[in-house]
Amino acid sequence: MTLTAAPSPPEAAASLLDRLTGRARAPRAERAVVVLHDVTKRYPNGKEALKDVDLVVPEGDFVFLVGPSGAGKSTLMKLLIRDELATKGVVVIDGADLARIPRRRVPKVRRKIGIVFQDFKLLPRKSVWENVAFALEVTGTPRRRIRPAVDSVLAVVGLTGQAQQLPTQLSGGEQQRTAIARALVHDPRIIIADEPTGNLDPVISWEIIQLLLRINELGVTILMATHDAEVVTALRKRVVALEDGRIIRDEMSAAYHRED
């Protein structure tokens, strides 16, 4: 893992990657960073993808979102970054009510979140390196700090060799890892990962999960939708199960399937 040789900054400003390598310690808090209250989402075609959902995620939590295909997992995540607006109910991210904040503050909220989209959503005409760097550039990060940060996060996900390729020149798993790198690089407070290991082989899958666990231990809240029963069951984290738009289960230290 290549890392910046910069002198360790004060704790408050410590980057995710610095903290990952043990140069900074994790803050501790019990504030709720994600709150959904009585949320219903009806799409224009009438489909109710979420129904009366209540969910509170305290800072530093690791939550698995499980449920069958079409249950509403991605819809929930879209609400969190205000890609869609809730039809009913309140969505609060780190104190900001997404339906109330002015439009120009929306990007600021989104930058607190690192999101891995289920369909990756890579910029088709930019290289892997540029796709990842983009998340830093839009926050006005100076160029000299962008370069080392991107290089090291690409090393973390194992894409150093593919840095200059375009998304169309990547394998499925490489695209997915690019999306993961982009979600991590800007040091977000919350990471939302929608099926981040669907295209990865078991070895890399586990590496990515380990990475997310380490990041989580540093105080970053993680919300991960997955169909990988093995991983969920093995980790014994909080599991929120959706079915047909409703939360049917919300247990701490749980498995993929209900255990009664």
Binding site: P107, K108, R110, P142
Partner: protein, 294 residues
């Protein structure tokens, strides 16, 4: 601020070349449209110059009494010259008039009737060229009111004709330039919109990863500006290359109608640059807006 501008310009440059096919298509459209506009602008100037040339040919002729003294005639000429409606005034004496008449008759192969005469039967005349033929009335009245003027040649019918034709041609020319201008505007904005629409997905992704509006908009605006500038430069290069042979070809025309085109070259350059750059920027701004307001 400066890093942001540098970022935007860098990204615009990338965007332009990564989308080369689309960008070049847009630039080509820009070039063609600007050429059209410049062509029309020049044409309109030639037209206007031609029309004023024709109009300056309108001449009011006032015959002077044989009894008028040189001083009186000079006073009349000065007075008319001072009028703002007058372009130029010329005094033709009786002798000059006879001389002209003889020449004209001879040229037409007619027998010279004047040789049968003992005295000169013609009158001296004050010939006035008008700046605008519409002013005929004012000048005619001023001439007629002078006691030494015998009569003023009635050319109202001719003038009406000229005024009708020139004003229609002038209006038609203006209308054409306006129509072409509007078409150019729409086409360029439309082309840029098409290019932006094709990248709607890209804009969408930028929004979702937390890019603020400025970070999304300005690269596109600069890219539009790039298309506009490049289009303008190519257009001007084409026009400059074409100017020499074209004006060579038109030399006959300019000989027949000795026109003054003055600063058309500079004006055209300014027009082309302003339009290219302006529409490029405007087109991107408006097109990107559609995707930001959400």
């Amino acid at each position: 601020m400066i890093p942001f501008v540098a970022f935007s310009i860098g990204r615009a440059w990338q965007g332009f070349w990564r989308n080369a096919l689309m960008s070049l298509a847009a630039t080509l459209t820009m070039v063609l449209m600007l050429t059209l506009l410049a062509g029309f602008f020049i044409l309109q100037n030639v037209l206007l110059a031609s029309l004023s040339f024709v109009e300056q040919k309108v001449e009011v002729v006032a015959y002077v009494q044989t009894t008028a003294t040189d001083d009186q005639v000079q006073a009349l000429v000065d007075r008319i010259k001072a009028m703002p409606e007058t372009a130029s005034v010329e005094y033709v004496t009786r002798e000059q008039a006879l001389e002209k008449f003889r020449e004209a008759q001879q040229a037409q192969g007619r027998e010279d009737l004047t040789k049968y005469l003992e005295s000169n039967p013609l009158y001296g005349s004050v010939n006035v060229h008008l700046t605008h033929p519409q002013d005929l009335d004012a000048v005619t009245t001023a001439l007629r009111d002078d006691p030494i003027v015998r009569n003023v040649l009635n050319i109202q019918a001719l003038v009406d004709r000229v005024v009708t034709v020139t004003s229609i041609v002038r209006t038609a020319g203006l209308a054409m330039v306006a129509v072409v201008g509007v078409i150019v505007l729409f086409i360029i904005v439309n082309t840029i919109r098409l290019a932006v629409v094709a990248r709607a997905e890209e804009i969408e992704i930028m929004r979702l990863v937390g890019a603020s509006d400025a970070f999304i908009r300005w690269p596109f605006v600069f890219e539009g500006a790039l298309v506009g500038l490049l289009g303008a430069v190519i257009t001007l290069a084409l026009l400059t290359a074409g100017a020499e042979p074209l004006s060579q070809a038109a030399v006959g025309f300019f000989n027949v109608l000795p026109l003054q085109l003055g600063s058309v070259g500079r004006d055209t350059a300014v027009l082309v640059f302003a339009t290219g750059l302006g529409l490029g920027v405007l087109g991107s701004w408006v097109s990107v807006r559609t995707y930001l307001i959400r």
